[in-house]
């Protein structure tokens, strides 16, 4: 394993310096070193989407992304979209539509939707479904999740 090195990264518009091995998955650094527990550990292989964060506004599976890959980039986690008191628009839409059951997948759902809206503010039903195709959810709140995204897509066009 490579040695621990001080690394500087930008997360939610704040600069952090962590001393870790550059190959450490970003997810571990976010949760263990920075205390950002929005992103969840699911499969550890980039398959389920629970760990999704944004890198320069694009969705990334943080469990398979080494921390040194994002040194030059801007990372956004669920915490960067809003707070419990003041949720961001995507978070609010999910609340409005009661899209959570166990909630474990929701970080990934919300972050992936945010990435979609970043590049396409008014996606079609098909585009929404495609975007969320690889975010796994076992509870089955798929319909509520879709309703939340529709609500966002139909905002002030």
């Amino acid at each position: 394993m490579s040695r621990s090195t001080p690394l500087t990264l930008s997360v939610n518009q704040q600069t952090h310096t962590v001393t870790v091995s550059p190959g450490t998955p970003l997810l571990y650094v976010l949760r263990n070193d920075l205390g950002l527990n929005g992103p969840k550990f699911g499969c550890g292989l980039g398959e389920c989407g629970a760990c999704t964060v944004l890198v320069d506004g694009v969705a990334a599976r943080s469990c398979v992304l080494p921390v040194h890959a994002v040194l030059e980039h801007e990372v956004t986690t669920l915490e960067g979209l809003g707070t419990a008191e003041a949720p961001g628009p995507v978070q609010q839409a999910f609340i409005d539509q009661q899209a959570a059951q166990c909630g474990y997948c929701l970080n990934g759902m919300i972050m992936t939707v945010q990435a979609l809206l970043n590049r396409n503010p008014h996606p079609t039903e098909e585009q929404i479904r495609r975007e969320l195709k690889y975010n796994l959810c076992r509870c089955g709140t798929h319909m509520e999740i879709l309703a939340a995204v529709r609500q966002l897509a139909e905002r002030h066009s």
């Binding site: 394993m1 490579s2 040695r3 190959g23 550890g44 292989l45 980039g46 398959e47 989407g49 944004l54 890198v55 320069d56 506004g57 694009v58 969705a59 990334a60 599976r61 398979v64 992304l65 080494p66 040194h68 890959a69 994002v70 040194l71 030059e72 980039h73 801007e74 956004t76 992936t112 990435a115 979609l116 970043n118 590049r119 396409n120 495609r130 975007e131 969320l132 195709k133 690889y134």
Partner: protein, 943 residues
């Protein structure tokens, strides 16, 4: 919060660039032939565009088409590039380009003498390498519905603003230009602005790293009967300034004042009646360049044409020219130079050139006339060309001139002329650094002709830069007279010229060849004797090496040689210190441990003299006389030139010493008997440095030198015989398996589903990613990482050379069509859907490698349908990647892949491999012996 630009340049502090999370990325598709006739676009037109495949690619936001301008906006740069490579565009070439073949000839110096009726009787084309140094251009634009903001580095932001206003149908006050980064991003800024205007989003465009050089081509032709010549300039630059490529493609008729231009008066007629030449693609050419290339082409052409007609070029110009001031100036220069006097001796030559420029923006228009006569002499020993004399006359009226003393002016003229003969980059030079030509310059005598010299000696002399324009052509014309070699490309490749002279390709120097051959034969005999000696003496160790004699330049150059040679990749153990050795290289004969090459006296090479170092590098002999195993590619390093070898030594000896003793290499009998390697060397090793091929360009030779020498590409990519020697000839770079990875064939045997081109090779070597092939991974990743530190010219040279080894693309479909077909086939392949691998693929792979559905995740996400490894005869690389993933990509932005060795068992891997082979390479036979291969590679240590 936007400020309005008020001057030529806008303050850099004006506005921060848009946040990365809302910035999309753009890429543009350029026509295969771009031309400009001075007023409008005359190149290839977009006849048909099929963007179905590109528009459906995941992450693509929009395909933008505006006239002949086509671009893609996507969430990540790699997706935009990949979408562009999937755009199926049909281009309609201009009629005259279809009729004559010269447009197909990319290189300069192409000459056609077409005999068919209507075709010009005498036609030449001239090239000009625009100064494209610097980083690839980058620009960001954001259109918010009313205002357009552009962040870019441009020389003239007012011009950019006016052009954008016209192009985007906005008031100039609604366009804001902010200085951002460095370099020349004019074309890129307009690309970004157009894409942003069409999508209403912030768009960032990074100019594509393509191999299309910024070479300007100008075509000249003479029509009609000899003696009654009617010249036709087929150049793009009737004016000195051109709009951006994007604006031309959108059909913009520019209405911006032209500024300084070349007077058409030497043409006698219709200067811009015909136009047919490619416009520079990668850089926005400066005014200086556009004028210079026109003068060079025009003045070279006149010289060629009139010498072909057996007429004196200077006299013929006087007869043709209508302008009285110009005629008077030429006469004055001819007289001062004694042009009509004695004929030049063998090995000497003189050339003439003239220019007349006009600035229309002044009232009345201001003008500069200038005429040059250059004298050159060629040294028969070295082939070196010396500028012996210059006679210059110029007349400036109204243009801003600078007063100067006679001495300053002479020095200035000498400097502006001799730079054309400065040593050009040679096959073993780094970074294009040219040697100082001052010794050459001092011996150039300068004569000033009337009216440069005022009648009263006390009056100051005046000079205008426009008067330097004829220098290049005058020298090229003189070189032609001295050597018989016509130079049609500027700046001149003086090294190639020198080689050509020494090879005896010219009339004056044929006797040189036999002598050179004798010397070569003697050296070859010596080489064989040395190589075959089984016992070699030790070279005495030095207590300390004096490194103070090495200059910073030498060390910096040595660093580049070390990077090109990837020393650190093999000479660093996992987690060990750089260059301290200890990495085990698996060979069929056993493990060979790399040595410590830091300058530590005890454990490294600190006591090695240069002689010992060079012997090791060229002949594979340790300082103590032992033979080194050819796992150390001295067979390739022997090709390194002396200068580079010394620089490499200087670099290595000035690094930090590390005390570390790597494990001893212990091979089984008989391979442990190192003296037997003497016989091996006799059979397989040629210790001679690289000898350039005189029939090839400097770029090609540079590429060959790097690929065969320091780069030691063949060490992995050439198959080896039973004794571990690289096979040569048709087997050169024909592919090999090394360390459990297949190094694919780079020659005509390549199995790439879409043939590699020079442009795709360059993109792959420069960025680690080619949209039509994939990413560099495995042992190739550190190679690309090393290359990323080399000068751009070197990577271009390697791509150029490698492309000449590959078989030409015989497919009649365009590469975009081929790619689209492969993608479609892989999606619609129903035969695989019932295979057990389908569900494994959906679960483990599809989230990243589904090219149509799913979110555009961060990273390159290469297409599997285009992947060479899936089309290869061997499954090794696919198995390696599935087991271990891509942990260390060439560049971090390529993205990573997790390994599946702990989550998929051997049977699942086999199912997945069978499925992937059938789905993505259905025309290839199924892989054999998969279970054994999987087992073996799983057990093998990871590389």
């Amino acid at each position: 919060m936007k400020s309005t630009p008020t001057g030529l340049q806008v303050a850099s502090s004006s506005s921060p660039v848009p946040a990365t999370w809302r910035t999309l990325h753009g890429a543009v598709l350029r026509p295969p032939l771009m031309q400009w006739d001075g007023a409008r676009y005359t190149g290839a037109r977009l006849a048909k565009l099929n963007d179905t495949e590109a528009a459906q690619l995941t992450g693509v936001v929009s395909v933008v088409r505006h006239g002949d301008f086509v671009g893609v906006v996507a969430s990540q740069p790699q997706q935009a590039q990949r979408a562009c490579s999937l755009l199926d565009a049909t281009w309609q070439l201009p009629v005259d380009a279809q009729a004559s073949s010269h447009t197909a000839l990319p290189g300069a110096g192409a000459s056609t003498e077409a005999s068919s009726s209507g075709a010009p009787a005498f036609q030449r084309s001239y090239g000009w390498q625009a100064n494209a140094a610097g980083k690839p251009a980058c620009a960001i634009a954001e259109y918010d519905g009313q205002q357009l903001s552009v962040w870019a580095s441009v020389a003239d932001s007012l011009k950019l603003r006016d052009e954008l206003a016209q192009l985007c149908e906005l008031a100039p006050s609604a366009v804001h230009i902010f200085a951002w980064r460095e370099g020349d991003a004019y074309d890129t800024a307009v690309d970004a602005a157009l894409l942003s205007r069409h999508t209403g989003r912030a768009v960032r465009v990074q100019a594509q790293a393509d191999t299309l050089s910024s070479d300007l081509q100008i075509q000249w032709a003479a029509r009609g009967a000899p003696g009654a010549a009617l010249y036709q300039a087929q150049g793009p630059y009737a004016q000195a300034w051109r709009p951006s490529v994007a604006a031309l493609l959108c059909g913009l008729q520019h209405t911006i004042p032209t500024g300084i231009r070349l007077s058409p008066d030497t043409l006698n007629e219709q200067a811009d009646s015909g136009a047919l030449t490619s416009v520079t693609l990668t850089s926005h050419t400066s005014n200086d360049d556009t004028l210079a290339v026109q003068v060079f082409a025009r003045e070279s052409f006149f010289d060629e044409y009139w010498r072909d007609q057996s007429q004196d070029p200077l006299q013929a110009r006087l007869d043709e020219l209508q302008d009285d001031t110009g005629r008077a100036l030429i006469r004055s220069v001819a007289e001062r130079a004694d042009w009509a006097g004695q004929a030049p001796k063998p090995g000497q030559g003189r050339g003439f050139a003239y220019a007349h420029i006009v600035d229309d923006t002044k009232q009345p228009p201001s003008q500069v006339w200038s005429a040059w006569v250059a004298d050159v002499a060629v040294d028969p020993q070295s082939g070196a060309i010396q500028l012996t004399g210059l006679t210059v006359g110029h007349d400036a009226r109204g243009l801003d001139t600078e007063p100067s003393s006679r001495q300053t002016l002479e020095d200035h003229i000498r400097g502006s002329a001799t730079r054309w003969l400065q040593a050009s980059p040679s096959y073993d030079s780094w970074g294009g650094a040219s040697e100082d030509a001052s010794s050459n310059a001092q011996s150039t005598s300068i004569q000033l002709a009337q009216p440069s010299v005022p009648t009263a000696p006390a009056e100051p002399l005046f000079w205008h830069r426009g008067a330097e324009l004829p220098a290049a052509a005058a020298i090229a014309n003189a070189i032609h007279q001295a050597t018989g070699i016509r130079i049609r490309q500027a700046p001149f490749d003086t090294q190639a010229l020198q080689r050509q002279l020494l090879q005896g390709d010219s009339k004056a120097f044929s006797w040189k060849r036999s002598l050179a051959w004798l010397g070569g034969a003697a050296a070859a005999v010596g080489g064989v004797l040395l190589t075959a000696m089984p016992w070699r003496p030790a070279i005495a160790p030095l207590a300390a090496v004096d490194t103070s004699i090495y200059s910073e330049q030498a060390i910096a150059r040595g660093r580049l040689v070390a990077i090109a040679g990837d020393c650190v990749v093999c000479h660093t153990a996992k987690g060990g210190q750089e260059n301290a050795g200890g990495l085990a290289l698996d060979t069929p004969f056993g493990s060979v441990y790399t040595t410590n090459i830091t300058p530590d006296v005890e454990t490294g090479i600190g006591s090695w003299s240069y002689a010992a170092f060079e012997r090791a590098m060229r002949q594979g002999i340790h300082q103590d006389g032992r033979h080194l195993y050819p796992a150390f590619p001295y067979t390739a390093f022997a090709k390194i030139s002396d200068t580079d070898m010394q620089a490499l030594y200087a670099y290595l000896m000035t690094q930090e010493p590390v005390s570390y003793k790597p494990p001893e290499t212990q091979l089984a009998f008989p391979y442990n008997l190192r003296p037997t390697l003497a016989g091996w060397n006799l059979l397989y090793h040629d210790p001679k440095p690289y000898v350039p091929d005189t029939t090839q360009t400097t770029l090609w030779n540079r590429g060959a030198y790097l690929v065969q020498g320091a780069g030691h590409c063949a060490a992995c990519h050439s198959p080896r015989n039973a004794l571990g020697a690289e096979k040569t000839g048709e087997h050169f770079l024909a592919g090999n398996v090394i360390d459990g990875w297949e190094a694919p064939a780079l020659n005509a045997l390549s199995k790439a589903p879409i043939p590699w081109t020079e442009a795709s090779l360059y993109a792959y070597l420069r960025t680690g990613y080619s949209p039509l092939h994939g990413v560099a991974a495995g042992p190739m990743a550190p190679v690309v990482h090393g290359l990323s530190q080399l000068p751009d010219e070197d990577v271009r040279a390697m791509a150029h050379y490698l492309a000449t080894l590959a078989a030409p693309d015989s497919n009649t479909a365009s590469q975009a069509q081929q790619a689209a077909l492969l993608e479609q086939r892989s999606r619609e392949n129903e035969a695989v859907m019932l295979l057990p691998g389908e569900r494994l693929f959906e679960g483990a792979c599809a989230v990243c490698h589904d090219s149509r559905d799913g979110p555009p995740l961060f990273g390159a996400r290469p297409s599997l349908a285009l992947n060479t490894n899936l089309h290869s005869q061997l499954p090794d690389n696919v198995i390696q990647v599935l087991l271990h993933g891509v942990e260390e990509p060439a560049l971090p932005s390529m993205g990573y892949m997790p390994g599946f060795k702990d989550s998929l068992n051997d049977k699942q891997l086999e199912d997945l491999l069978v499925y992937m082979r059938q789905r993505f390479a259905p025309d290839q036979p199924a892989w054999e012996d998969l279970p054994e291969k999987i087992k073996a590679l799983r057990a093998a240590p990871k590389h």
